[in-house]
Structure formats: C-alpha cells, structure tokens
Amino acid sequence: MIRHLLKLSWNRKRANALLIVELFFSFLVVFGVATLGLFFAANYRRPLGFEWQDVWAVQVDMKRARNDTFEASQVETFAQLVRETRSLPGVAGVAVSMDAPFSFESLSDNFEVEGRRIEADFDEVDEQFAPLLGISLVAGRWFQPADAQLAYTAVVINAQLAREAFGDADPVGGRLREAREGEAEMRVLGVVEDYRSGGELARPRLFFFRYHPVGDLGQRPPQWLLVKVAGNTPRALEEQLSRRLQAVAPEWSFGIQPLADLRESNNRFRLVPLIVGGVISFFLLLMVGLGLLGVLWQNVLRRTRELGLRRALGAPRSAVHGQVVGEQLLLTAFGVLLGLLVVAQLPLFGVSDFVGGGVFVSAIGVAVTAIFALAALCALYPSVLAGRVPPADALRYE
C-alpha cells in the first residue's frame, strides 16, 4: 500500500515537492512557538523560591551616574533610610538588596571549580532578606550580623549551584573560590531551595547571595529596600513612606512599587513575544490549511477518472478515503522528516541545553502532531468528495 502511494506521489513529484516545502516550513513555525511556550510552562511549574505577596520594593536612586564609587556619607544615609522605614507604623520588616526580584538587571560572577568555569548570578543582601521573602534553607544557615567579621566571604547558594559546584558532596563549608588579589576566599554558609529573581517564566539559574550588612562602609550602598507590609495596607502608607524617605535624603529619588506590580510587568514582558508569535503562527497555519484544502480538492477533481475506476473495480468507499488521506499523510511525513533533520541540528548550537531536553523533545512532539493533524484535517473533506465519485461518471469522463 505504502509503496503504491509512494509511486503515485513520485509521479507528481514537482507539485508534491512544493507541498512538502510548505509543510516543512509550517513544521518549523509550530516547533518555534511550541518551544517557547513549553519553555515558559516548564519554568512556571518550578518553585519560585520566595514569596512576593505584600512586599513593596523601593528603588533608591542616589542620582549618581556611576555606581562603582561611593562615599561614606551615602552609606550612613542609607542606613538611616532603613531605620526610618522600619519605624513606620504598618511596616512589618525591611531588607536591603542590590537588585530587586523581578527586575531585569542581574549581577553575575564566575568561579573555577575543578577546572570548569561556572557562571552564576548573585545579589548582595542583608540578614533580613531571606526571612522577609520567606526563602527556605535546605542546608546550613542564613547570614547573621556576626558574619561581617568572618575572615572569608560568606555566601548562601541555591541548590542548583550546589549541585553544579559540589556534586553530591556536602556544600556547606565548601570553598567556591580561593582568595585572590584584594578579595577573601568565598565559602558556602548555607543552601536555599531556590531564588529565581527573574520571575516564574525565567530560566532557572545558578545563584548565590553575598552578605551585605546595612551600614557596611566597605561596600557601595544597596539600591533597593524591600518593605514587608500587612495584608491589606492602604496605598496611603506608600505616600507616607515616600515623604519620609525624601525627608531623610532630599537629594535622592525613590520609586515605590509592590513586588506584585514588578512581577506582572516582568511576566508581561516575557509573554508578549509568545503571544505575538502565537497569533501570527495561528494565522499562518490557517492560511496553510486553507491552501492545502484547496490543492487537495482540486487534485481530487482532476483524478475523477482514476478514483472512479477504482470504485468501478470494486474498491469500497473507505479505500478511496484511505488513499487520499494516506497520500497526504505521506507528503506530510516527508515535510516533517525534513523539519526533523533541521531541528536535530539545534542541540549543536546549545538550544536544547538552554530550554531543557524535555522541553525540546516535547516541542518536537507537539509540532509533529500539529502538522499531521492539520494535514489530515485538510484531507478529510476532499477524501469524502473522492469517495462520492460515481463510477459511471468516471468512465464517461473525457
């Protein structure tokens, strides 16, 4: 049967080649959108590692163009901001950090572990940070004020970094980096389950926290205050907070936003390309579907004689249906095969590592299914038409 269909298709190779090309490109389009969508879905299912509810993020803009220099007075002022905020009625807690969760900025650093270079994002935070955001530790402990006196740089890493750097060994107390010029060695104090500062849709990354006590004159002041408030705090507190901060540092500027807002705009930023791509692809597939339907329809009309002859020789209607749909699925198989050949090259460029092997394979599955379903759907009506060809007509046809 298949050999027979192959022969029939080969007889019209030129027209079929173009149909295969069309199906091939459709496959690539579906694969692209499916990869992005499944990538987001897989990320979304992973634990975020912190709680963003009822936390306000205050961006402190010291109105300096460069962030790598600072003065002691700025550190003092910052410490005073923290004290003032903490004393405000309605504020349950205050933490500081260099980057806010859900912001698009990130700091990154790299280490050499057993000859491998590992790159990880990090943030500089104080001892209030983990309790305030409900970050849970799976091993070791979180920072405490006395850690400022340690001879080494204490860091808390996420489980992914622990696996990457230490494998199955106990990461607590492990050395991430040897001492180097002007910098103490870096040792692990604890491990958190995760902290995905990029938000739910972002790819999970290797991450660690460095300790940055408020008022440390050796480090540039942080840029964010995270303020925990009670469940249904009125927004009026926001204005009150803003005025109080402004009173402490009249030369600086402050932007207050609930983390919920930051989260929403972060998610929207990532989803917009998917939505736009999805809508365009939907229309493209609809267009391809209509085109295929038209072409097959025309094919069936042209082949009235052949199909009628089969019926006249006793082939049941279902056999004719099967032939039309089968031919179409055969072409689709060629198109999909070509697509698979191209997609199979992507792991060489690190695509499957980036999105995750599971996502990559499922996206291929989705694309294959979608293209076959589309092709079968388009062949359905023409096959019904083909089955209806009265044998007598076919024999008379000239």
């Binding site: 027209a15 490109f25 339907l293 025309q298």
Partner: protein, 417 residues
Amino acid sequence: MLRNYLIVAWKVLMRRKFFTFASLFGVGVTLMVLLIAVAMLDHVFAAQEPEIHWDRTLGIYTISLTGERRATNGPPGYGFLSRYIAPLAELDSVEAVSLVSMPETIVSYDRGRKIPSFLRHTDAEFWRLMSFQFLEGGPFSDLDLAHGNFVAVINRSTRERYFAGASAAGQTMDVDGRSFRVIGVVEDVPILRISSAADIWVPTTTFRNTHYQQDFTGGFLGLILARDRADFPAIKAEVEARARQAEKNLPDPEYYQTLSAPADTLFESVARGLGGDPGGAHAGRLRVILLGLGLLFLILPTVNLININLSRILERASEIGVRKAFGASSWTLVGQFVVENLVLTLLGGLLGLLLAKIALAAVNSSGVIPYSHFTINGRVFLYGLTMALVFGVLSGVYPAWRMSRLHPVNALNGRFS
C-alpha cells in the same frame, strides 16, 4: 490587452470562490503582518511630530569609555555633552544643539492618589528643535533655565490625571515630591519616540543636585540639528574630533583611556547597538537584516500561494491550449498570469491594509504602548504596495512559467505532467 487580462482575472476569481477566498486570506494576513511591522518601525524611526526635523537630526545616544580592565557603555552624561557637544552650535552647518535627559520613571502623590509618570529634564533649545503642539501656555525659556525655576510642561494625559482635564497653566503640581508650576500643556507624544517623549518636561537646572554637571556617562542624550543632511559627514567628523579632545580630560584616567561617542541617526545608533565591527556600515547591515527577516517571513505564504496557483492553472488548461494553438507565445502567457496574480495580491493587499488598520487601532486604544498612534501613513502605504507587488511577482512567476510550458495538444486534452 491589459484590460482583457483584468477582465479574465476577475472572471477567474469569481469562478472558484473557495480558491479565491483561500488566496485572499493568505495574502491579506501576510500583508497585514508586514504592514504592522513596517508601521511600527516607521513609528519609531521616521520623522513625525514633534520631531519634524528628524531627517536632519543627529544624536549622541551612547558613550563608551574603555580602559585596560574596565569598560562602560551607556547614554552620555551632561558633563561630557555640555563641554564638548553643546559648543557645536557655533558651527555654520549646525542649527541647534539640545541636551535632554533620558526619561526617568517617577512617582508623585496627588491628594492621596499615586501618579506614575515619565519625567524629562531639558534645556530651552529643546523646544526650538522640536515642534510641539501647545494646547495651553508655552515652553520654558533660557531665563527659566538660568534661574532654575520650578516650571513644567506637561502632556494632555498628565493634565487629565492631575487636573481632571481642566485648564492647568499656572497651577502647581507635585512632581516626585517637589512642587512645580505648570507653564504649558502639549499633545501626548508616543512613548516610543525616545528623544522627545515624556509626561512632564522640566528645566535641567531643577535636578536635585549638581553631580550631573560633571558626569561623562549617564542619563542624557545630545541632539544636533543640522542645516542639511549633506552636512552629516562633516558634523560626525567634528564630533569625532571633540571625542579625541575629551579623551585627554577623562574624569578617571586611571580606569579609562579611550572614549567613543559617535553622532548617529537613531537608526544608525540602534544598528550600532546590535554590535559587530566598530566603524562598519551598521545601518546598511540592519537594513539587510530587516529585509532578510521580511523575506524569511514571506517564504511560507509564497509557497502556499504558489501551490494554490499551480492547482488553479490546471483547471484552465483548455483556455491555455486554445491560446497556444492560436499562436500566443509563452512570454505572453507568463505576462498574463503574472498580471492576474498581481490583481489577486493587490486585492489581498487591500484586505491586509484594512486588517492592519483595525489591528493598529486596537493596539493604540489598548494603551499597551503609552500614547502610541500607529498609523498607515503615505510612506507605510508605499512600502505595503511594494511588498504586495514583490509578493505577487514571487508567487506568480513559477506557476506562470509552468503554465506556459504546457503543450497545446496535451492542454487541450486535459493531460498534464
């Protein structure tokens, strides 16, 4: 001749409605997507109010300082611009130079309500370089700058937010915790016009402190209005020369030794930002990339339309046979079929235009991009027309060639290979 082609084309379109629908749908959707993309690019890069002199404006959009161990790259700072770029205004080829800050998001509180807005610090020259439509009052002057007056120009939407649409000139308002007097109200400027858009414009001298006057990097951009586009190369060279001068007086020579702050059109600047070779033809490359993306997008619709067209030819075999038998050359037939296909794509283009208009209006009114008014203007329409023609020829030539090669006897018999 052409008239006959058109009549035949119309008859063919009407003969098999499903094919016509499938083709028009494909062409319409394809051109809609392309038109939307072009309209958005046009919205960002082309001249439009208030940047009506945009085609003869150069900008210093980025500065990069590099040293042996460090590099920094971002918008230039006021200190660099005021010392090295502002004096360009004395050149004969330069009409005006304006230094404006990049918009910053600020939050103001007005009677218990939180109002977020984009704030921009500008000089008085800015108002001469741009052509804002004032609904009320006017811009601030050099005098306001000199005295550091707390005056503000706001846009229509900000007037709506603060004053519920009532007259605002002369009123005071809270801007980021400080009180400003409104002296002018202008029409909203699309937020994607990165050189002029804001909700509130205030004099540069109202910054909270004076650090900005020393900065080489951060937060500003310099706009240079040339008398003529032809002066661009000379102005660019002059900016280059000033950058060399500035290199000798860098604020932290221990970290950074070289400085680059090219004068670019916005398009050139974006092209440069995409990286690659320094000093290369960035704008040309970006154009090629955009064109390439457009063509890549066109592949699937083109193949689809070719398939439909190939099927369609076959039902006209007897017509082709007759024409060939009576001596029509292959070229004539190719011409005829391409014309027919062009009729189809132009009709589809019209449909695409309509769909694009609806989609753009929806984007505008949704407020996803503040103050956007994406439109299909003459320029975009011309692009659309060109794209429809290219699409029509691409998808028409191959089927036409196949058709013209049908042997008259076979064609008359209804046999194809």
